[in-house]
Structures are given as structure tokens and as C-alpha cells.
Amino acid sequence: MSWIAIKMLVGDRAKFLGIVIGLTFAAALITQQGSIFCGLMLRTCALISDVTGADLWVMDPGVRFVDDVKPMLESNLDRVRGVNGVKWAVPLYKGNGRAKLTFDPGDIKAATYPPDVLRREREGPPRSPSPSNVFTKGLDLFAPASGDFSTPPPRWYDPAEVNVVESVILLGVDDSSMVGAPPGGPVIGPGERGRMWVGTLEDLRRPESIVIDRVGLRKLFPGCHLEEPFADPPESDEAYVARLRAFLRSAPEIEMNDRRAVIVGVCEATRSFQSSPVVYTLYSRAKRFMPMERKMLTFILAQTADDEGGKKLPPEIVAERIRRATGLGAWTSENFTYRTIKYYLIYTGIPINFGITVFLGFLVGTAIAGQTFYNFTIENIKQFGSLKAMGASNGRIVAMILLQAAVVGAIGYGIGVGLSTLFGFKTLDRWGNPTELAYFTPWQLLPITAAAIVFICVLASLVSVQRVVRLEPAVVFRS
């Protein structure tokens, strides 16, 4: 009788679509909001995932998450190196630096803009000094009559706005090994892939040099033709890299702690929760880029040694040894990631905010799909009554309804998850990196969404089933 159930279901296209749309909406919203939540949580651990080559993170025992900077004495580095099972240990500085921007937009523009674009810009009408969009216009309606609430224009269009200060994430990697720096190979082009767009890690050995992440660079130097490859006309990766190179040739520099920092390279970095530009430099130099303090060592990155049999010691065991021997906090990268995520889950309202949205999606999906499915069953009640009169047992009728629910559930789930995944892909840039919107769909989210959809379908069908089971077949003789 399954084919009868399916034909009954799809026969009424409007109802069928209504149920599927309800379930699609629920599945899409749960997956999408869940993915954004997971993406945000991953961003909280961006630094941890970007550091490769080290097994262990050692830190002040009071550190709860990766951005919770509690500096330690430099002597702790030697203490960690002395723990049995530690192959090597290197320092890593992490802090929130203040970058004073000293560039002259005219110079950079002349270096990076194609001549025809530059000419068009100069000859064209000036852009609005106060950019706005539909949201700011809406907000203006509620603003008090007096006062200037206009958004500051991009610095490019107002030279008076240069020499402002931007907050950056400053990372100081070990001077000799450079452990903690992004993998050195180029992002595009032949050879082993790394995360350097322009320049090499060795350039960091030049005096006063720093490497900035690509997205952060765009934020630090707005209007300097550093946007991602243009779509119209289509720009190749090589042309984009050439633009970045041209920018670096203009010797851009910033000031941190009144010291000059010259940008010698551009790298790719996982977007962090704060979305601040990431500045890489050597450990010794990083300390100079920040106001001097007695304690400057933020993290110690360590590698576990091999045991006597030549087998690598489990990082968890070595971490435990470090904790016992030094009293410091020591965690594997994975454990530190979970600690960081747990901190955000417990101490921020993010899970509640997203949970509410997901719950609303679940509720709305349940309401739409459940109500439509129930209506569908009720409108077919006479048909089900006829089937019962003709000798179809309650079990078979229930099986028909459950099959119908399963079919719409599967279709709604498939379309919803598909749409959500498509949305996720659309948020990536051309190299597959996340853009402004944090979006990550772990496989665990898919069974969770499936379970929610199954719950909605079961709930919707149960209401219908009890109605049909209680139905007297004699209803068929009532006109």
C-alpha cells in the first residue's frame, strides 16, 4: 500500500509542497544557525588551529581560553624544557597591539591602482562623505534631531583621518625556529602549499619586519586597492598577488609602541573571533612592539619527545608531567581548543542566542509542517475511512501515514541541508576560506538536524495517526 500512500501524498501538490517547505525551513534554519554557531566557536580557536608543529600549549594555570592572556616569567620556558618527555619548547607571544597607521594613501594608491582606474577615480564625482545603507537610514529615523550621527568616511577619502590607531593581534614567534608562524609556502602557485601570499617567513629576519594576514591588511589599509580579486572584469589569482606585491613595494609601515614596523609579507590566517588584523613577528621584536612589562611570555609551545623505543610519547602524558612539574597549565592543542570553546559556551550568551534561533526554527518548522500534515490527513480522512471500510487494518493505515511523514521528512531534510550547505559554500571566498560570516558544518550537526526533523515528523504524524486510528469506518457512509 506504500505506493498508494505516496500517490495520496504527492497528489495534492499544494499541501505536499507546504509540508515540504515547512520541514525544509526547519532543517535549513537548524543547520544554518548551527553552522554559524560552530563557525563562531571555531573562530574562537583560530590561533590554536593556525599554530602547527607543536603538540602542547603551556600557559599560566589560570588561562581559561586562548585570548585570556596571563603572562608568565621567561624562566618558565627553561622549566618546561627540563620536563622529561619534552623534545623542545619555544616561546610564543600573544597580545593585543595598537597599530598606528602612518601611510600616505596617495602613495599607496599610485602604487597599487591600475592607471585607468586611478584616472577614473580622480575625474569622477566624489563619493558621499557619509556612507549609509538601508539600516543606517532606518536608524537615523530614531536618532535625536541634533548632533552628528554620520558614519565616518573611509580614510582613503579623507586624508585628515590618517594616522589613526587600529587594534591588532600581535603574535611573536620563536626567533630561531619560527614555530607558531604560518606554514611558509605560497598559497597559490607550484610547490608545497603554505599560507604565504607574498614574501617568505625568512623576511621576518629583516629589521623591524612584520607579516600581516591578508584580510587584516585590507582592514588596516582601506581603499588601497587590496580587496579580493575583482569579479568584473575577472581577475586572476596571479593578478591579485601582483597587486599585493605592488602594495608591499610601496614599503608600507605601521607604528607599534612608537616603533616602526615594516610590512614584508602577507599571509593567510584563520579569522579570529575578534576579527582584528593578525600581525606576525619574531618573539624578541614582539616584546618591543608592546609596552614593557616584567612578565611577557604568553604561551610556550612544546613538542613531545620519543620514548626509548623510538615511539612518540603521547602528548597527554607529557602535558600531565608538565602540569605536575611546573604547576603551569599544559594542554594538547585539541584539549586547549575544547577548553576555549567551553569557556565561550559557559561564560558568553552565544549558545543561548543561537539556541533561541534554532529553537524558533524548530518551533516554526513544527508548526508549519505539523499543521499542514495534520490538515492533509484530516482532508483525507474519508479516504482513510474508505480504506478501513474496505479492510485495511489500522496498522497498515498507520504505516501509510508514517511513510508519508518519512517521505516529506526526507525531502525536507535533504533540501534544507542542501540549501544550508549551498549557503555555506556561497559564504566562502574563491580559495575556500570563510569570509565575514563564520560558517562551519560539522558532520555531527547533520544527524542532530535529522533527529529534529524526525521528531517534527513523528509529532505531526502521531497527531494524525491517533485521529485516523480512532476513526470509525462507518464515516464513509455519511455523505
Binding site: I4, S386, M390, S393, V476, F477, R478, S479
Partner: protein
């Protein structure tokens, strides 16, 4: 038997076997002040090889009686035996199985599934009996062809006229070769001419020596199709007319 019910036993002569035996059937609906006695001690015998009509004014209990006979409604008191099987003593499951095997239904509003073609609709009893879709639809198409609907086997109910839909319903009722065919006002939704055609079709295709056909109707223009006519009023069978030639002779 209730005291106010006519004690008239159904005195049928010898001949065709009794297909449906109804004794002292009572059925109430509602409670307290709202209590309605739909059947009030009905006694009735219906025979195989005949088309029996149950007639009477609206609300007299015809459809209730048919529902109990067909095993889709439980009686409060009394007994109904269909081909010697006491349907009123069966449990729900047994009754469901009995209906699937032994009874065919024709409804006033046809009750065709709108998403299924004529052949698919007609095949439903076979599917309920466990047939696969292909053979069931093939058999249903044959039955439809036998009642002049060969060209409409692939049509949806929305593409059929009222008469054609009732033909499909008749094919559906006959496709699994039931012993008892119950028809509830089969002509009520049809114009007079189409109603007559449907009744003729029922007589020609449904009435067989080993099958009983019971039709509930209040359409006196089709009374002449009945071999045996039970007149009901106020929940009781007032009168039973035998019109079949062989039965009159007996």
C-alpha cells in the same frame, strides 16, 4: 426483541440461501436526552442471487443497518450473520479481515482517491488483500473493461463524470470477487438516467447466485431493480416485499 418492535419474522420461502441474517438488531446514538434509537430490533433476511433494497425516508436507519451488516459499525444488541459467519461476534481484526475478503463497497460519494487513476482506484481491494501493484492494476483494468470503462483506466477521478466515477467504484467493489456487495445510495449523486444505468450495471455485473447485493436507497425510481425490498421507518423494518419472479412463485 424489544416490545415495541414488530414481532414479524422474516418468513422467506425455501430457495436461495440466506446471505445475511439479521436478528433483533438495536443501535443507539448519543446519550441521555440526546439518545437516538437508530435501529430498533430489526429482523431481516437477505438472499444470495438477489439484489435487495433497503428503502425508507431519511433518518429511518437504513445506512445504520447497512453499516452493521457490512461490519463497519458495532450494534448495541442483536445478531448479524453474513454467510453464516456471525459478524457481530467478531473482534475488530477478524471483522477487518472479513470485510477485506468478503465484502465490496459502493459509496454514495464514490470515495475514489483523487490521486489514483481509475484502474489504481479499482485495484485497492486487491492491494489490501496483498496483491502487488502490477497484477492488481491489471486485474482492475480487466474489470473496468468488462463494465465499459476500458478507455478510462488511466483517467483520474477529476477527469471522469459522476456516472463514470460510480462505475469505477462498482469495479472497485467487484474486483476482489466479494460475496456481499453493500451499496449506500449509489444513485443519490447521479441524475435519473445515469442512476438507472448504474443500477442496471449493478444488476448485470454484481448479481450472481453466490453473491448478495444490498442497496440502500430512497430513490423510488430505482425500486423496480430490487428482488427484495425492505421498507424501514423509525428504526424498524415495517414491510418486506419480494419481487423476484421465482420468489413470488414460491
Amino acid at each position: 426483541m424489544p416490545a415495541d418492535a414488530p414481532p414479524k419474522a422474516d418468513s422467506s420461502p425455501a430457495g436461495p440461501s440466506v446471505a445475511v441474517r439479521v436478528r433483533g438488531l438495536t443501535k443507539h446514538f448519543g446519550r441521555g436526552d440526546q439518545l437516538v434509537k437508530a435501529l430498533d430490533g430489526v429482523d431481516l433476511d437477505l438472499y444470495s442471487g438477489q439484489m435487495s433494497l433497503i428503502v425508507g425516508p431519511s433518518g429511518c436507519g437504513k445506512t445504520t443497518l447497512l453499516s452493521v451488516i457490512a461490519g463497519i459499525l458495532d450494534a448495541d444488541e442483536g445478531e448479524v450473520a453474513v454467510f453464516d459467519e456471525a459478524i457481530t461476534k467478531m473482534g475488530d481484526r477478524a471483522k477487518t479481515r472479513f470485510r477485506a475478503r468478503r465484502i465490496g463497497f459502493v459509496f454514495q460519494q464514490y470515495n475514489l482517491l483523487p490521486a489514483l487513476t481509475a484502474a489504481e482506484n479499482a485495484s485497492i481491494p486487491l492491494v489490501i488483500a496483498g496483491w502487488k501493484k502490477g497484477p492488481a492494476v491489471a486485474k482492475a483494468s480487466e474489470v473496468l473493461a468488462s463494465i465499459g470503462m476500458a478507455k478510462k483506466v488511466g483517467s483520474l477521478p477529476s477527469q471522469l463524470s459522476g456516472g463514470q466515477m460510480q462505475r469505477v467504484a462498482i469495479a472497485r467493489a467487484l474486483v476482489h470477487d466479494p460475496q456481499l456487495l453493500v451499496c449506500d445510495e449509489p444513485t443519490a449523486a447521479l441524475d435519473h438516467e445515469t442512476g438507472l444505468t448504474v443500477m442496471e450495471l449493478l444488476r448485470e455485473s454484481a448479481v450472481r447466485s453466490d453473491r448478495a447485493v444490498v442497496v440502500v436507497t430512497h430513490d423510488n425510481r430505482v425500486f423496480h431493480f430490487g428482488d427484495r425490498i425492505a421498507h424501514m421507518d423509525d428504526g424498524r423494518v415495517d414491510k418486506v416485499e419480494d419481487r423476484a419472479p421465482d420468489r413470488s412463485a414460491a
